[in-house]
Amino acid sequence: MSYSDKVIDHYNNPRNVGSMDKNSTDVGTGLVGAPECGDVMKLQIKVNPATSVIEDAKFKTFGCGSAIASSSLATEWVKGKTVDQALAIKNMDIVKELSLPPVKIHCSVLAEDAIRAAIGDWKKKQESGKPVAAEAK
């Protein structure tokens, strides 16, 4: 199977590889996996609590070229978006952008799951943070 130029580009020059402190209250972490291929994908976002804008995103993926490209693209796309805007990203958007073949659609599903999981983790932190702050006052 041949990869599209965009996949190869993301594979050779992945954007935003790295990690952030998962214990920071501004950071949301999404860790997802696809058992059929053994891929595992970690995507982290740093959100401005005042504006809900995703200021930074990092990823680390162990898997095939399509999985790496999908998560690399996902970090590029979420950066600068608000949390709600990022939630509107659909896996088929990634499929189109990277021209993924049908057998690699699950890679894009994984990337969307990772975005959602990261945002979910961040939201949970914000909710659990509130009552403590209220009590402190």
Partner: protein
């Protein structure tokens, strides 16, 4: 997929219309041969369980299956039917080929389970995709098929493997890291083994359900689709985790050998 609808009727079931009688002597026939004249019969499109005259249950007497397999392969062997008509030869060839597929699938515990899931119409990838779509629509968090602690473990081990590969590239040796990875691998292999035992408990659940639905069917009620789905979902979950671990152990072996 035709196999799915045949399964809901669940064997022992009547053969398709027009195949009840021997093509040669007109007697009622057994599955593969005429009981009366012994001639090979044209293959009928049945699932592998039905091919062996078995109910679609997951606890299989493999020794008995093997015996049946050898008996059938002897009788269906194309050489044995060399003097028969070309139609019969063709049928025995087709039956032999199906026999081999059926036996290879049913004797292996994992293949057998996967085959049953296939008959039940379980499509793993489709399931994951529709769960993502549901999460998108409802805003709820999608439940990952792989439990979070296993994902953490997989991620950590992959990080270590990356380090190991990097070290090797640089010509460096880190015995402590290698030892840690090997230890991790053994733990995973034990988990892999334990998952098979867990799977077997769901076989029992499934087999009991099939036994019960036979009784219910006699009273004219429908097969309990919800209960079936509940058990198959558990089996899918175990197989997913098992596949994950198997792939990981394979990666570890490659990295350690390189």
């Amino acid at each position: 997929m035709t196999t799915k609808s045949t399964l809901t009727a669940i064997s022992p079931k009547p053969l398709p219309e027009g195949t009840h009688t021997c093509w040669s002597c007109g007697s009622m026939r057994a599955a593969h041969f005429c009981e009366s004249c012994g001639k090979v019969q044209p293959p009928t499109p049945v699932d592998y369980f039905t091919f062996f005259g078995l109910p679609p249950k997951l606890t299989v007497d493999v020794a008995a299956l093997e015996k049946e397999f050898y008996e059938l392969s002897r009788r269906l062997h194309p050489d044995l039917n060399a003097r028969a008509g070309s139609r019969e030869q063709e049928w025995s060839l087709e039956q032999s080929s199906m026999l081999n597929d059926a036996y290879r699938t049913l004797r292996d515990p994992i293949k057998r389970t996967e085959y049953l899931l296939h008959l039940e119409g379980v499509a793993l990838e489709e399931q994951s995709k529709s769960a993502t779509e549901r999460a998108r629509a409802t805003g709820e968090i999608k439940k990952q098929i792989v439990p979070p602690d296993l994902l953490e473990e997989v991620f950590e081990l992959n990080m270590q493997l990356e380090e190991l590969r990097m070290n090797k590239k640089m010509g460096e040796d880190d015995p402590a890291l290698t030892a840690e990875i090997s230890q991790h691998k053994h733990a995973l292999e034990a988990k892999h083994e334990a998952l098979l035992q867990e799977l077997e408990t769901y076989w029992t659940d499934w087999d009991n359900l099939i036994d019960r639905s036979f009784l219910d069917q006699n009273q004219g009620s429908k097969a309990p689709a919800e209960e079936r789905a509940k058990i198959t979902a558990k089996m899918v979950d175990v197989l997913n985790r098992r596949n994950y671990i198997r792939n990981l152990v394979r990666d570890v072996n490659v990295a350690l050998e390189d």
